[in-house]
Symmetry: C2
């Protein structure tokens, strides 16, 4: 029974994409869209879109299509974007600062409360009112502030050590940018962003154009 209720990873990975397209439609003032039109925008087939959304109850009406605002808000709830998440960033170099600076995350409910680094030159500096603190204070900061998400933007050599501090502090989800596999207990959600792998896919396709299928 458990298995039948499980939504497949490939469906889940498409949801944020639907959400992004619906957001664009909302910004353009479009209220209503058919699965055919959604198919044209996203490159997925209309029947796949209908099937994907049916996993969560199905939101369309025969002959009408989807109400954009409604579907956007429902998908937002499914993705957990109706909540606010408190997060910290370990590693206050360019990448950490880029994430702290990025308004899009804040707008989606992801609040960065602090950056942490071991470089004394960075400690005390503020990025958009977000202070950079000594990594030695990270564990107590996370516990005292009920932080749920830990973001790793350190070099790969420090990633496992940081992950273990996150684990000890009760972090629930880790967004990892270090090119390393981090090991933490199974009930912590780990989402890896391996930029090298994306770059290598680009170079593969540049060398093997026959295999290339554009994906948005």
């Amino acid at each position: 029974m458990e298995k039948e209720n499980r939504v497949s990873i490939t469906v889940i990975r498409r949801l944020p994409k639907y959400y992004r397209y619906l957001n664009d439609l909302l910004n353009k003032g479009i209220n209503r869209i058919s699965s055919q039109e959604l198919s044209k925008m996203t490159g997925f087939t209309a029947s796949q879109i209908r099937q994907d959304l049916n996993n969560f109850g199905g939101f369309g009406q025969q002959g009408y299509g989807y109400n954009v605002e409604d579907l956007h808000s429902q998908l937002g709830k499914i993705l957990g974007l109706d909540k606010v998440y408190k997060s910290v960033i370990a590693g206050a170099g360019n990448l950490g600062q880029a994430i702290a600076n990025y308004r899009g995350f804040q707008d989606a409910g992801f609040e960065v409360l602090s950056l942490f680094d071991k470089n004394p030159k960075l400690i005390g500096i503020k990025i958009r009112d977000i202070e950079i603190r000594d990594v030695d204070e990270m564990e107590s900061f996370i516990k005292e502030n009920g932080i749920e998400i830990g973001i790793i933007t350190t070099p790969k050599e420090s990633a496992q050590m940081i992950a273990e501090i996150f684990e000890r502090s009760g972090i629930k989800g880790i967004w990892n940018f270090a090119p390393a596999d981090i090991k933490v207990k199974e009930d912590i959600i780990v989402e890896n962003v391996y930029l090298n792998e994306s770059l290598f896919a680009l170079s593969y396709f540049m060398n093997n154009k026959k295999d290339y299928v554009r994906r948005d």
Copy 2:
């Protein structure tokens, strides 16, 4: 016939992962690995690994397994990592600077020759000897220096305009970090990194643990 020769996207997306693991093995001085051991490391089944590699000729020997150095170098060639790619970065904010600073890309043969921005305060500054130039000079710089890869780290509002400059200048591949779908002619390879989608997947799994399967 064309279709039969085409390697599937899911296989291609796994290659950079194999490459990363083999790199780790090389760094540990391990010369030989079985598909079973590779399976334990990567989480893919041994038969999947053998099938994946057979797309490119198959490199293992029955009863011996794979020679790590050899497989690493063959995969590197398949991924096009035996070449050097000249690239430029459009958008010299934190994210652009993070990429320019990241040694891992340089080590893999991706050379950043210049960053471009429209902010006069940034123009003339150097990031690790890489100069930030005025975006108005980008088109001629790309043509004069035979740049193949264009990296977009601008806000989403500028992404399409930058992509069109890349297209006019003869860029072959675009690595896009802006949360926008860019439209360029079909023979330009576009690899998108949508950070929001990764973050939304994290929040989905934090809210729907039953669906979570860790993927490295």
